[in-house]
Symmetry: none
Subunit: 198 residues, 4 copies
Amino acid sequence: MAHIPADTRREQFIDAAVRVIARDGAAGATTRRIAEEANAPQASMHYCFQTKENLLLAVFEHLSESLRTDSEGAAAEEAGLARTAERLLTRTMRYAVDHLDQTRATFAIAMWAQSTNPELAVRMYGMFLTGWQDVLGSDRETASNEEIASVTRMVVTLADGLSMQLLTDGDRDRTMRDTANACVMLSTFVETLLRRSA
Amino acid sequence: MAHIPADTRREQFIDAAVRVIARDGAAGATTRRIAEEANAPQASMHYCFQTKENLLLAVFEHLSESLRTDSEGAAAEEAGLARTAERLLTRTMRYAVDHLDQTRATFAIAMWAQSTNPELAVRMYGMFLTGWQDVLGSDRETASNEEIASVTRMVVTLADGLSMQLLTDGDRDRTMRDTANACVMLSTFVETLLRRSA
Amino acid sequence: MAHIPADTRREQFIDAAVRVIARDGAAGATTRRIAEEANAPQASMHYCFQTKENLLLAVFEHLSESLRTDSEGAAAEEAGLARTAERLLTRTMRYAVDHLDQTRATFAIAMWAQSTNPELAVRMYGMFLTGWQDVLGSDRETASNEEIASVTRMVVTLADGLSMQLLTDGDRDRTMRDTANACVMLSTFVETLLRRSA
Amino acid sequence: MAHIPADTRREQFIDAAVRVIARDGAAGATTRRIAEEANAPQASMHYCFQTKENLLLAVFEHLSESLRTDSEGAAAEEAGLARTAERLLTRTMRYAVDHLDQTRATFAIAMWAQSTNPELAVRMYGMFLTGWQDVLGSDRETASNEEIASVTRMVVTLADGLSMQLLTDGDRDRTMRDTANACVMLSTFVETLLRRSA
DNA sequence: TATGAATGAGCCTTCATTCAT
DNA sequence: CATGAATGAAGGCTCATTCAT
């Protein structure tokens, strides 16, 4: 097992962990299995991340970073809140469909955090919330902060629910069709909201 | 440790397992911990359920049975598809909010099944789908089977997404408020659907 | 599971135990497996034999009794010590070859006794020794008691050694051929012995 | 518990296992007991041997290696087949008498293999057969390969049978006396064989 | 009497982690 | 710095046996 600098190792571990977690769940992702998948000594994992918990954290950060990078594109054009929300949800589900392993790992880690470190789970969830709130709030039209927050939560809700189903049966096409339906709902909801507040 | 009839023990184990799973996740729910929580010998668990997997299965059946019993009430009155869907979702989320441990355990087991026995996970998901489809299809108005299925999936999606958020931060009130919003979306979606097919 | 009188059960258990021990060894013959093979409740075994050790004892007695019954025929005719020894060995190995399961079980129990209850192992071994000594001593010619004992031990030695090989590879024909060779050795040995003592 | 190099640990485990197996049989030799006897953590056993089966294998290899090393001396001098066979048997039984624990362990493992992994048992038996065949065939006189094989099997048979008795009652002197008798038989057998083939 | 039900003790194995170099 | 070696704690499960009827 060749000596390899820690920085390189970190990446190898994170990538390997995503695959293993997607396959075996967060609890089934043992340090040994991850190390094997990364072609690295088991001790290296602790050298790089100290604990398994830290590794999972790093994995989650990596995953949500990737997703955020992707979803930033949704805000690019001026299109109104409803349209932006639709674009955000569609883009997110497109990403989920194209990166099943990552999606699976994200959810597995989120569930793992809930029982291991609930406060951390809240923080994780918050990362998505604030990230998307920024996207949705970028052109704010007449919507209040509270209304933006409400729409954001609804986007997250739909994304979570659609992903849950995707992860269970792996039916990509049906997921995208349901996503379209969800978009219909989402935009009428936003319009209702805006009309009400006007 | 007093001898106790197996039927009684089964219930004790299932109840204990729900609490432990809610606290520690499905993987963290060790046979030892469950037995301790149930005030029972570890060997009794294997006498009643043979394997830990079987116990988790029984727990899931118990949980979904409880939820189904509850949601049957949603179909009681003649009220149209949109209204029924709203009632079903509201009732489900009300139940989730009132039974946080059960909800947490249900999700934990569902996620656990995904990595342990994916085919089982599909079956579990299917149980909800068909159960709710029956509720929604009971008075079918002009909706086709396919449309009913589509609405059902949307209800499940929303319930999953809302529960996910509830489980993370435990904010019951906000969950019920978001549920109300989700109901708005849901009923406009159903109406759109019916109008389109007319 | 029908209630069945203890006497009948005993036989069922002994027969079942022989098969299970032959298959899984004395240690692998668990009370559950034996009960299953006997189509009997596990508790019946303890009702009939109190302990697993007692059952194995009963099995051994049954097995050695069968073998003894068979070997008694070897003494039937007047034929001199050498010839009788040959007949005894041949007959024993013929029996072993025709009853592999029983032979296997006999050895498994003998080995099991050595580590569980060494004194019992000695007694078991003694049963064969005295039984065969009677056969060989029945027409004593000019041989002394000590000489008879010596020959007996040699017969047992050869039977044990030949059986060991038989149990390992299950080659019945080769065993009988080697038995013929062993008989040659045995009779020349007896003759040497008698000549020496004359 | 001090960290100790794996090679050292392997030896400690093997030595400890021999003692425990001699005392409690192969099935009674639990990983706990062996670790305790070796003054080592239980987990070290799995670090060194992975499974209990592997440990037993290593023990058997160690034991048969020791015996083989010892028996090589039997071939040292030019002495004819009969004499060599006698020397081999005597030497083997001398070794058995001087190393009761090892002998007991060897038989226990051999019997254990018969029910756990029959094919392995055949291979184990074969190790002795071929090893001794080499010793006996080294100066082959006029004997054919088949004759050599036949003699080898007879030596093994006698060694097994004599050991069986030794292990039961532990009577070393009687074993060596019986070994002398067995040698008489063996050499007359070889002579008969050679005369016949001439 | 004979049996279904129940259990304390112990099994083999694997885990995340630490040690020593 | 990075890793091969080693381990305490805990995992799921099975055993012979006893209990209650």
